[in-house]
Amino acid sequence: MTDRKPIGVLIVEDEPEFISRFSEAVLGDPQMRLLGAVSTGKAGLALLDAQPPDVLLVDLGLPDISGIDLIRHAARHHPGCDALVVTMFADDTHVISSIEAGATGYLLKDASAARIAAAIHEVREGGSPISPSIARRVLARFRGPAPAATALPAAAATPVPDEPSPLSERETELLRLVAKGFSFDAVAEVLSISPHTVVAHVKNIYRKLAVHSRGEAVHEARQMGLL
């Protein structure tokens, strides 16, 4: 692990206080390299393309463009990049939107330096954090057809039986446990798997959510004649 190439991190955050907080956390970890810390979305976009990072820390409330656009751009053009969205309470609707746009995790704004570094390591090692409310929303999202499909008669005529739930039984069970507030360790214990597997599962779920939402967007766009 120590031999590995350091993790390149790009920070896009408009509040100087948090730029310095996150920067310090990254700089304080010898296995990380700070590629840049910018306060606007456009600057972030430019840096993203100029020097694709391993991990993108992005706040959603940017002054120029939405952080979600940034995440979407990263997911499309730099698939090797993990996007972590910075959130205050981990229950934002924005967190789900971010995950659907391709984010692989979130970071609480008041997290300690150690926790920030740990989150970055976790996401590089294939894991993702998840909160009960996110788990709940993900479960709800995959339960039954999308609302648009039931509203449109044309879509109702062509239901999506070939698309039951993309989640595996194990993933669903995991989400249920997380939604009840079980910690990863507790979930791992109940499911008889290692905590690492749990976070890997979560990352997988996020990926499915992003693919699913993208597929849905394409489907809807076709329905509306845009494609």
């Binding site: 309470f89 229950d91 008041d110 300690s112 926790r115 909160s131 009960p132 409310s133 709940r136 997380v178 939604a179 009840k180 507030g181 079980f182 910690s183 507790a186």
Partner: protein, 638 residues
């Protein structure tokens, strides 16, 4: 409405009326006997007569034999008639028979000295009125080709003092049998039918009326039918013992009078002319009859009473016609026609019975047949009344059905309205509840988070806060906000989500601090004992208390383990936070700690409960107990 009544009555009444009139006319005008124009039947108009009480036939050369016309009253109690005839050749008409249309007083019939028939006759102990026709086979052995001698002994009727031999006929059986049967139908079968049917229908309708006293017409009709049925028994009972006969006669007179009076009441009622005075007067008149009969027998007084009934009948006919003219409804017209026919039949019968010269002059021969029409007309009248009532019954059934339909519609409509208003009320209540909840949480934020921030600001401004204390304060504020968000996030009152988020957050935080948490949170969606579920505000209080307790553990307890338990104990909400730290220790420095406990007490009170700190071995247990009210009863709140 009037049009409807017409249509309805025309449909029901017109064919019935027409059929009845045809039937009655047919029976009345059918010649009961055919004159012996073709020589096949012998219908003598005269016979020799001797008025005598002697049971033995007078000798053939008795000088008292006098030729007399038949069917004419002869004074006397008993008499012998003699008819000579030559037997017509028996051909396709069959054997010779003797036909007598009636034989009122009874008697004996002899052919050439041989007894052909004997009918009971009036004696001191027996009253006879033989309405039935007779058809007697003349014994061929006793019959001669020529010069047959028919001797008939006749007796006076029950109360009469005159005798009469009806117009008899001799002819082939095939020829006279139908004549006999027609007469039998009219004077015997129909009365029996009337007797039985009138009694049954009358009792039935009276039974209906007993259950529905307001339907006076039903009662009157039932009574009329019953009275008429009893009166008709006159024509069915040929012979009665004298004692019984007196009582029966009274019944007969009562029934006749009662029928007329009840009919009059019916017609008055139908015409809408019911007056209490008139009704009483009619009933009083009806009551006079039997009194007169019991006091003076069938004398002139009784005949005057009967004549009075005729006047009442005429008055009834006038009312019926007048009502028909005024109202022109099917009902009144039908009743008027029937009543007029009835009165006409009554007058006709009276004229025939008294052998009025009018009948003799205008309808020669008709009176001799002694055909009485009143009971047929009365049957028609009863039939019309019955049909009218049946139509009324059907109409009222329709009306009831219609009313039920209307009622159902109205009920359905009201149900819809009630459902809508219920929904509106429910929506308003939900809105009100949401507003209340919002206001409580706002107040909570204001009193809790707000005051904490202002106090901290003030202390920071006067330099009383070092950076560590400042961080603590702000972290506390953020924690409060998180708890509020967690409690409010559960829009659908999803306690699992609320407590899940809380547990998740604190699990990581406690573990980071080296404390192993144990969670035992059991909050069912529907609490036991029908108690009210925890609302967001309640959840908020509970989470604040637990959070404060956990913060204390984190800051002061130096514990390695903490157990959080939330559950219902019966209808009591119980929360215990137990750590294995160093115990309550010295009282916390003035300020934070003390205020923390006060806040927890406050929140416990808002939950309607108590909070207590117990020393565990080792460590501390914070215990909350809150009795939960049932919905409807206001939960105790601080």
């Amino acid at each position: 409405m009037r049009h409807g009544r017409w249509a309805c009555c025309e449909r029901g009444l017109a064919p019935l009326l027409a059929a009845w009139l045809l039937l009655a006319a047919g029976m009345a005008w059918w010649p009961p006997a055919v004159a012996a124009a073709d020589g096949q039947a012998i219908a003598p108009t005269h016979a020799d007569l001797i008025v005598t009480d002697s049971p033995a036939p007078p000798a053939g050369d008795d000088p008292r034999w006098q030729p007399r016309p038949l069917a004419q009253d002869e004074p006397g109690r008993s008499a012998w008639y003699r008819v000579r005839f030559d037997a017509p050749a028996t051909g396709p008409d069959g054997p010779l028979v003797l036909y007598l249309p009636y034989f009122y007083g009874g008697g004996r019939i002899l052919l050439n000295g041989a007894l052909v028939a004997e009918v009971p006759h009036t004696t001191a102990t027996l009253r006879v009125r033989w309405e039935r026709p007779l058809l007697l086979l003349l014994p061929p052995a006793a019959l001669q080709a020529q010069g047959n001698l028919l001797l008939v002994q006749v007796h006076a009727e029950h109360q009469g003092s005159s005798v009469s031999l009806p117009r008899l006929e001799v002819g082939g059986q095939n020829r006279l049998q139908p004549v006999f049967e027609r007469r039998l139908l009219v004077v015997r079968t129909l009365p029996i039918l009337t007797w039985v049917a009138g009694s049954v229908v009358g009792l039935l309708v009276i039974f209906i009326w007993l259950r529905r006293r307001d339907e006076v017409l039903y009662g009157l009709f039932g009574l009329a039918a019953l009275l008429w049925a009893q009166r008709t028994s006159t024509f069915v009972l040929d012979a009665l013992p004298t004692g019984t006969w007196e009582a029966w006669r009274l019944v007969y007179l009562l029934c006749t009078g009662g029928f007329v009076l009840v009919m009059t009441l019916f017609v008055l009622n139908l015409a809408g002319w019911s007056r209490r005075g008139v009704t009483r007067a009619l009933l009083a008149y009806g009551a006079i009859g039997p009194v007169v009969f019991l006091a003076a027998g069938e004398g002139p007084l009784m005949r005057a009473w009967t004549a009075g009934l005729l006047l009442v009948g005429l008055g009834m006919a006038a009312v019926a016609v007048w009502a028909a003219w005024r109202q022109r409804s099917g009902e009144t017209v039908a009743i008027a026609v029937a009543v007029v026919l009835g009165v006409a039949a009554g007058v006709h019968d009276q004229l025939v019975a008294t052998r009025s010269p009018l009948v003799m002059q205008w309808l020669p021969g008709w009176g001799d047949h002694h055909l009485f029409l009143l009971h047929h007309a009365a049957n028609l009248l009863l039939l019309v009344m019955g049909v009218l009532l049946a139509l009324r019954f059907v109409r009222s059934l329709h009306a009831v059905e219609e009313a039920n339909r209307t009622l159902e519609d109205r009920v359905r409509q009201r149900e819809g309205e009630i459902a809508v208003s219920y929904q509106r009320i429910a929506a308003l209540q939900r809105e009100q509840a949401a507003t209340d909840e919002r206001q409580r949480i706002m107040r909570d934020l204001h009193d809790g988070l707000g005051s904490q921030l202002f106090t901290s600001l003030s202390r920071a401004e006067r330099g009383a806060l070092d950076s560590g204390a400042m961080a603590d304060t702000l972290r506390g504020a953020i924690d409060q906000m998180r708890v509020a968000i967690e409690a409010l996030a559960s829009e659908d009152q999803d306690l699992d989500a609320t407590f899940g988020n809380f547990r998740f957050r604190w699990d990581a935080r406690l573990r980071d601090a080296g404390i192993t948490p144990t969670w035992d949170i059991a909050l069912p969606d529907t609490p036991p004992g029908g108690t009210a579920p925890l609302g967001p505000h309640d959840a908020l209080q509970l989470l604040h208390i637990i959070q404060e307790a956990l913060t204390n553990v984190l800051k002061h307890a130096r514990a390695s383990q903490v157990a959080v338990r939330v559950a219902f104990e019966g209808t009591t909400l119980a929360a215990d936070i137990t750590d294995n730290g160093q115990g309550a220790g010295p009282p916390p420095p003035a300020g934070t700690g003390g205020r923390g406990r006060a806040n927890m007490r406050n929140r416990a009170q808002r939950l309607g409960g108590q909070i207590a700190w117990h020393a565990a071995q080792p460590g501390t247990r914070v215990s909350l107990r809150a009795a939960r009210g049932v919905p409807g009863a206001d939960p105790p709140s601080g």
